[in-house]
């Protein structure tokens, strides 16, 4: 295999040994390389959390912003220069908790970015509190009697909102995760991939083993264009499906609805003629 241009040299990693993030980082870089994405045209936007550190270790443009706010930043980047490939990447706390409202409205807008959610069902960086996707009963330093709230079901919410590309992967299977990321990045529109990964320090419940035992692959003949069927899959609880759960191609992009051209806004010019015309209205 040729050298991956997205590799960074000699950077010290901020992740714990055995963290699922390492595998996801490698998978992401491989997917991007295999897609022939040009390094100079890729921007990875992230929020805050351990997963959100990913772009620190990718040799590409980066906006590592605030907790919960990766999506609005990613939108701003995309609308400012639609020639860029934009990926928003963060954890379950960042995307489904602090930034939940942005996710809902990103789906409504449907701008062409890929959203990757590192879903380890726990808050790692703040040291082990429950996340929106934590499973019932999990004891933490804060949820001393165990998690008592039903976990947030991102897939069901996404399908309910008719998000045009909804997928779930488990980082335990690098190959399948890579294939799904490749599909998501190639998709024209807002593509969301929820990726199961373990937190080896704070989540003793949802381990590689647990993810293996509690997930299954969608069969080859599964029709991801069927929204009703996708919703049935989304609300399954016994075993969780992996794969592209729902996809609807051809939905109009926010960029197009706004009439945004391929000229980046850093080349914006004020038309003198239009300016004179505007002033004339007030004479």
């Amino acid at each position: 295999m040729t050298e991956n241009p997205f590799d960074t040299q000699g950077k010290k990693m901020g992740w714990c040994p055995g963290c699922g993030n390492y595998r996801l980082l490698d998978v992401l870089k491989d997917a991007l390389h295999e897609l022939d994405i040009e390094q100079r045209s890729l921007v990875i936007v992230s929020g805050i959390g351990q997963g959100a550190k990913t772009p620190q270790y990718v040799n590409a443009h980066m906006f590592n912003g605030l907790h919960g706010r990766a999506l609005p930043v990613a939108m701003g980047v995309k609308l400012s220069n639609r020639n860029l490939v934009v990926i928003a990447e963060s954890g379950d706390g960042c995307m489904y908790g602090e930034g939940g409202n942005h996710l809902l409205h990103a789906i409504r807008r449907n701008y062409d970015i890929t959203v990757i959610v590192h879903d380890n069902m726990v808050y790692g960086l703040t040291k082990g509190q429950a996340s929106p996707t934590s499973q019932l009963g999990m004891k933490t330093s804060l949820q001393v009697n165990g998690v008592m709230l039903e976990p947030f079901n991102p897939i069901a919410v996404l399908v309910a909102l008719d998000a045009p590309f909804v997928a779930r992967a488990s980082v335990g299977d690098s190959e399948q995760t890579k294939e799904i990321i490749k599909q998501a990045v190639s998709f024209k529109g807002l593509a969301v991939v929820d990726i199961f990964q373990p937190c080896v320090i704070f989540n003793k419940m949802n381990t590689y083993q647990w993810f293996k035992e509690n997930t299954y692959y969608l069969p080859d003949d599964y029709d991801s264009n069927d929204r009703t069927q996708a919703f049935e899959k989304a609300i399954e609880t016994e075993k969780l499906p992996l794969g592209v759960i729902y996809r609807r191609d051809g939905r109009e992009l926010y960029e197009d609805l706004l009439g945004i051209t391929h000229i980046p806004l850093y080349e914006h010019e004020v038309s003198g003629e239009a300016f004179e015309k505007m002033l004339a209205e007030y004479r």
Binding site: R40, M62, N64, G65, P72, S80, V270, S271, R283
Partner: protein
């Protein structure tokens, strides 16, 4: 006998939805086309229908830009308007209203005016607005021609009948006005400008908007909140002509983050909001600070705390912008006093934001944004849009350490370099770091630009007599009222000073005020700018003229306050 020379104030009062604003817009436009100097300001309740609103239209021989408490004429469209404005009705106020709207009140200057009756006679009660404008023109003795032309333009799309009915309504109001003027010996003499210069008639929102367009602003994401919404609307209306991306955000937090994303990728990005919305944006301001991504924030102030008085005016968010965002970093705060200045300062705001990679706040308020006045076209300054973006090469470092703290700014996709920005403390490449030595350098870097921003800080503008020992300081929207008050007083010992830049302050200001008796007037309860002057420049402020009830200063109350300044 009622005689008005070169200054008259006509107030139109009615319920929200009754078209008080429409009347004022038509009247000022027609008068402006006749060569008169006009100024209009509006106060309204936070309601969609009902409530009580009023607009004051001033026609003056000299250009004025201030609210007067005095009402020479009141045209009341309903009974509530009279009750709402009762405190301002004096012996000398002529009140034009239908008899049953006066509700048995003893009003010396009441003139029974069948506004709705005339409207009905012309074809429809909704023509009351047109009758009211006709009435005002008749009282002023200004020809109806320009108004008829205006009506033909406005209602062209609605067909010939609507146009002719409106003209008939205007004529009924106009004839009544003329007759009443003769009967009651009302004489208005206002000299129109001799050779009226090319002028635009705009409100404050439009001024800020024109400035944003001229500055090459190409991206706005914002969430509606009065009185900041108008700028978002203005840019939406001009988006197609100027290729401006206009996004209505899901909340203010999204708005500022979207603007930062767009700016990172090279857009000249802007947000507009009011105090409450801005409070939500504060973490984003801090993000702009650490990432050094340029940003312009327009904050239209209104009275707080919290929801406060949503549709009214105040200048109490100076401290909010001054201290917004956790951590320490640079910023600039501008506050235009005139519409021409708003156009110029918006351009300066983007210029400073881009060049110095910082956040620039433009503080206005409801009074400023909703006021209407004419701007001489020759006063409109257009600065060339200079880009401070470099084409990156391999090995580019976004936070390259330089002597002045400013690193050449690259954007993704322009050049071969990689552009990494980070909310964490970071190294020169933009990667997070916890190295204390780098931290020290980066803190320095972000603050250092304040030196040059201070040097470039706009000096305040003086008006009134040179060498006066008493200097009255104002900022932002209070320029017009202070100018007029000082002009009215005509005292050799009182001059005014208007600040259009509030932070950083030019140190030369301190020297300017060294031997003076300094008085500060501002629309807030504590004197935030007076405190800032004292803290930054050691200026001793002897008196504060403050008002925080939701209303702008009137010329009368500033005159009264300044009369108390003792003569030496």
């Amino acid at each position: 006998m009622y005689h008005f020379e070169n200054d008259i104030s006509i107030v139109f009062g009615g319920a929200a939805g009754q078209g008080v604003q429409t009347i004022a817009n038509a009247l000022v436009k027609v008068l402006k086309r006749n060569g008169y100097y006009v100024f209009a300001c509006t106060e309204f309740m936070s309601r969609i229908r009902g409530g009580s609103n009023s607009t004051e239209v001033r026609i003056t021989g000299k250009k004025r830009r201030a609210y007067v408490h005095r009402m020479d004429f009141l045209v009341a469209l309903n009974a509530d308007a009279i009750a709402h404005l009762e405190e301002r009705i004096e012996e000398s106020t002529l009140v034009f209203a239908e008899r049953d709207h006066v509700d048995g009140k003893d009003i010396a200057g009441f003139i029974d005016t069948p506004i709705a009756g005339f409207a009905k006679e012309a074809g429809n009660p909704i023509f009351s607005n047109t009758v009211a404008v006709g009435l005002a023109l008749g009282l002023l003795g200004v020809s109806l021609d320009a108004f008829s032309a205006y009506l033909s333009e406005q209602f062209a799309a609605k067909g010939e009948q609507i146009v002719s009915q409106n003209i008939a309504a205007a004529r009924l109001g106009y004839d009544f006005g003329l007759k009443t003027a003769t009967k009651n010996q009302i004489e208005v003499t206002i000299m129109p400008a001799e050779a009226p210069p090319e002028e635009l008639l705009i409100d404050g929102t439009t001024a800020v908007g024109i400035g944003a367009v001229a500055a090459g602003s190409s991206f706005i994401s914002s969430y509606p909140m009065s009185p900041g919404t108008g700028l978002l609307t203005f840019l939406a209306h001009n988006a197609d002509d100027f290729n401006i991306v206009v996004d209505q955000a899901e909340d203010e937090i999204a708005a500022i983050n979207a603007a930062l994303g767009a700016s990172y990728a090279g857009a000249r990005a802007l947000v507009t909001t009011s105090g409450g919305g801005f409070a939500l944006m504060e973490e984003g301001v801090s993000l702009a600070g650490v990432t050094e991504v340029p940003l312009v924030v327009h904050l239209g102030q209104r009275p707080g705390p919290a929801t406060g008085l949503p549709t009214r005016t105040e200048q109490a968010d100076l401290n909010l912008t001054l201290y917004a965002g956790h951590g320490e970093f640079s910023r600039v705060i501008l506050a235009p006093g005139t519409f021409a200045q708003a156009i110029e300062l918006m351009q300066r705001a983007f210029q400073l934001a881009d060049r110095y990679q910082t956040t620039v706040f433009v503080l206005t308020d409801q009074f400023f944004l909703d006021s209407v006045a004419s701007v001489q076209e020759s006063d409109i300054v257009r600065q060339p849009v200079k880009r401070h973006i470099v084409k990156t090469g391999a090995g580019y470092k976004r936070y390259h350490l330089t002597g002045d703290g400013l690193s050449p700014r690259g954007v993704p996709g322009y050049g071969d370099g990689i552009v990494k920005v980070d909310s964490h403390e970071h190294d020169e490449n933009g990667h997070l770091t916890e190295n204390f030595e780098l931290r020290r350098k980066m803190v320095d870097k972000r603050l250092k630009r304040l030196d040059v921003l201070t040097k470039e800080s706009i000096m305040p503008e003086r008006f009134g007599p040179r060498g006066a020992e008493n200097v009255v300081i104002c900022w932002g929207s209070n320029q017009g009222v202070l100018e007029e008050a000082i002009d009215t007083l005509r005292r050799e010992d009182i001059a005014g000073l208007h600040f259009s830049q509030l932070f950083p302050l030019n140190p030369a200001v301190g020297e300017l005020l060294d031997t003076k008796n300094v008085i500060v007037m501002e629309n807030n309860a504590t004197g935030q700018f007076a405190d800032l002057l004292n803290r930054e420049l050691g200026v001793h402020v002897s008196r504060r003229i403050l008002k925080a009830i939701g209303e702008p200063f009137s010329v009368e109350e500033v005159v009264e306050a300044l009369e108390k300044v003792r003569h030496d």
